[in-house]
Symmetry: C2
Amino acid sequence: MLVQGRHFFQGVAPYTLGHKALAVNLSDLAACGARPVAFSLALALPDLDEVWLSDFSAGLFALADAHNCELVGGDTTRGPLNICITVFGEVPLVDGRTQALLRSGAQPGDDLYVSGTVGDARLALDTIEGRLNVPADVLTAALVRLQTPTPRVALGLALRGVATSAIDISDGLLGDLRHILERSGVGAVVNAEETIKSIAAYTNNTRAGGQSVINLSNRQWRQLALAGGDDYELLFTAAPQRRAAVETASLASKTVVRRIGEITREPGLTVLDAQGQPLAEHYASFDHFA
Amino acid sequence: MLVQGRHFFQGVAPYTLGHKALAVNLSDLAACGARPVAFSLALALPDLDEVWLSDFSAGLFALADAHNCELVGGDTTRGPLNICITVFGEVPLVDGRTQALLRSGAQPGDDLYVSGTVGDARLALDTIEGRLNVPADVLTAALVRLQTPTPRVALGLALRGVATSAIDISDGLLGDLRHILERSGVGAVVNAEETIKSIAAYTNNTRAGGQSVINLSNRQWRQLALAGGDDYELLFTAAPQRRAAVETASLASKTVVRRIGEITREPGLTVLDAQGQPLAEHYASFDHFA
């Protein structure tokens, strides 16, 4: 359920809104290793704006069609703008066992991975809201991540039988990682230095031949990567013996993955700096009621 | 998707709201002859009111448990109060054909039936909003219909293989009948006099030994029955040869049904008065965007 003013701004382009409303749901399927099948859409609209609705639908159906995901029902009514999508996917049973990726399967010693890029969506949000100041081209690139995230459906499918657990990052990497740790009864160590390399803006910044165009502290980069939110990347675990299989899944799905940490037997979550020292910073996740 | 101010009033008792939010969805399953299996719930709340949420949940789960319908997912977020439920049901295939009741199967010559009582929910609404004035006991009885409608799941199941088409009445009897007529490519004649006998307040009124406590014109009673809305009764068709089977379904499901008209080959919808004369009145359905 996406609510105006909370999940998107009034005046956001309806095409990208249509895309994102479905994308965040497909991302949930991706995290389960499920194949998208169908979705229902309930829409409360303040008024019947044909142009808005047409653009919204175009963005929605472009993504739906790309995933062979059919609209099978729903509702429209008048009310404060609210978009509620329920998505249906399928995962095979093999020998009576579901092939779904769950949050509960992480094992001590497993590698921890993240797909694609994280932190850029939050960089865009912070810039729009005036908390950060970045060049226009950096903002433009980051806005794509905020407004039209790519659900990692192909990667999720490729990770069936490879990953031991998975979740998609909506509220922030560490916050969503905690869901895996709780369900699996394990802890984790996360390498902050490695994780911030997943921020496209960071990588592009440090590539610029010594001339940084964005002046953020390491701590600010860590906040973006570890607690940014709205990334819709997959965070998953796999046994170290399966590194080649993870690489194969990454290639098959044309999705970059990065190893950023390790699952531990002892509970708790430790974030290490470049020197391998634990960081005591607090990383706040997106709170749906804050 | 139920929106405050549109589908319910601010300040409505959360227990009855929880009941109704699920009931209107189960009513859709009933109209398909489907057995409820599960539902998802997305909830936008202006704030976290534990007492409200506890009462809402109690009403919701009392009905869910009565139908063995399990909550399997959903979402909560902050926003203008909005309740979005997606319900899942199942209908068997027999010899490769679905047993689902559809809107498209009505045949010329079929009888037209309505279940339970219609018009009372609208009587309550009109009274609350000051358009009608009825005694307190009449309002109390009618409010039960408005606030805690009974989804006709058992009747829907019993009508599999008996009814040729079905729909549930949410926006008004005639308006919803039009959906059957359009999908089936037929017309209908509706007996207004017979239909208003389905209003509990009307029946109780005329039973009161000649001393009417509610002074409505026949036209007003017709408006309540034919265009009231919020009834969540089943409107269905069946061949005249199946009258005994309809009676059996009614008994098996402990749900009163009333024969109120007939399907015709020629398109269009005719409402007849007690003398069999066509009425030229306009019956406006609930418009989700009015």
